[in-house]
Symmetry: C7
Subunit: 94 residues, 7 copies
Amino acid sequence: MLKPLGDRVVVKPVTAEEKTEAGIVLPDTAKEKPQEGEVIAVGPGRMLDNGNRVAPEVKVGDRVIFAKYSGTEVKIGGQEYLILRESDILAIRQ
Amino acid sequence: MLKPLGDRVVVKPVTAEEKTEAGIVLPDTAKEKPQEGEVIAVGPGRMLDNGNRVAPEVKVGDRVIFAKYSGTEVKIGGQEYLILRESDILAIRQ
Amino acid sequence: MLKPLGDRVVVKPVTAEEKTEAGIVLPDTAKEKPQEGEVIAVGPGRMLDNGNRVAPEVKVGDRVIFAKYSGTEVKIGGQEYLILRESDILAIRQ
Amino acid sequence: MLKPLGDRVVVKPVTAEEKTEAGIVLPDTAKEKPQEGEVIAVGPGRMLDNGNRVAPEVKVGDRVIFAKYSGTEVKIGGQEYLILRESDILAIRQ
Amino acid sequence: MLKPLGDRVVVKPVTAEEKTEAGIVLPDTAKEKPQEGEVIAVGPGRMLDNGNRVAPEVKVGDRVIFAKYSGTEVKIGGQEYLILRESDILAIRQ
Amino acid sequence: MLKPLGDRVVVKPVTAEEKTEAGIVLPDTAKEKPQEGEVIAVGPGRMLDNGNRVAPEVKVGDRVIFAKYSGTEVKIGGQEYLILRESDILAIRQ
Amino acid sequence: MLKPLGDRVVVKPVTAEEKTEAGIVLPDTAKEKPQEGEVIAVGPGRMLDNGNRVAPEVKVGDRVIFAKYSGTEVKIGGQEYLILRESDILAIRQ
């Protein structure tokens, strides 16, 4: 599996159909179409100037919304993942 | 519902007609047309370099004015929301 | 009324005629034509990296000069206001 | 008169003829033609991240040299002034 | 051999075929095609503003994923290496 | 004479012929042609975020090498000077 | 000779032929062709925000690899040198 570094988070993107059932539809018109996905792995968090790390606000299993063009795509065993920075994540679906 | 991360704020935009009743009309001529909306959810606040968080100045229910092209649109159960950074919010309507 | 956030300031712009009586004429030739106005409301001030706020140097009622293209226009009850950052304000007219 | 904010300085530009008598001629060829002027008013100084202000190095009456395209022009009672940042000032003529 | 400075890391890129056996296939469609490789040497780590170094999260022998266009190519004794910054590395394959 | 502010340094550029005698010839081919000159005046030094000044590494009389397009030209009593930032100076000729 | 300031380093570039004997061949295809050279002089090191200097990681005589287009060329007594910032140096050849 993937162990993200620093403030990075591995997310399994939720496809469009699943999204409608989950209730979030991202308006096509929106200049930036945020996406939704499930958190698979979380890094140790961002390093501050004073050498301390910021504990991540998300955890494995969270359903999150993030900006469409953020992160880097990686395919492992046929499944596509996105490696994001935590600052790309806008909110957690509760 | 949505739980915003860091310094983000979820706002329900107020449509043009509601705005006239509320008294704020945003001049079309203005290079940047600020918008108005109601705060639905507020994140924990911005993280400073020293590891402390800045308590947000806005709270749920506040009527706020923000810059037109800021934030990311999200639709939940047919209702459109904007996920902004607190620094996109210019003022609170009192 | 408007309660500005952080280092923002609400200013009521002074129109050209009023300016001549007040003595400040902004040369058209200037690459950037500063403007003049009256401070209507002042935010709590800029947040520093150490978590302290910088007390604003301007106060309600001050007559200030600011750079022409700064800030965001807002109309309330027919009156136009500008929401500026304090750093857009160049000087106070005494 | 004008009371500059933060690290700003109000300067009365010296016209070309006066400059020759004062000895400084700015070569037209220079990509950036610095200008000369007299300091009329000085702000409280730049605010550092730690909340302290840096005492300005210039004072009223100093004859200073600054970069040609810096600052904002303001006309008061027919006299033209430049509102600069202290960092636009290169040197003091002694 | 190469001793990287600061936060740099020397990686031996894994060619496409090896990648399929290792299970990671990088989708061509992806705007940015991350790459995979083995860590050969690690620098002392990034220097913070306070003068302390951040201990690197990767070690020699780790299998890592990094953004396609990051780093600088170097050939030593016929073998090609990439000198990356640690922040170019997205995750460790476990 | 000129008293430079902050981290600025006043240099009297050395013309091409003098340079050959001094041994430094700046290759025309070089994308950036560094120049050489003599230090005439040195400012108090750069201000750090903590309010302390960094003592300049150059002193009056030093022969220095700096990047060609850096600084601002000033002519005083017919003599041309360059007002540089200390960070534009690459090295001292010993 | 040259005494570099701050975090600068003077390097004598190694020509292509010497490089083959030393074993490092820089692939022409590489977007950025790093170069190799010998360290001739090292500055006191980078100044941090807290006023301390970072001791350089390279020393006179080290064989180093650096990015092709970094630094400024200087010719002294017919010999060409490069004045780099230490951060332009990728690794030390051991």
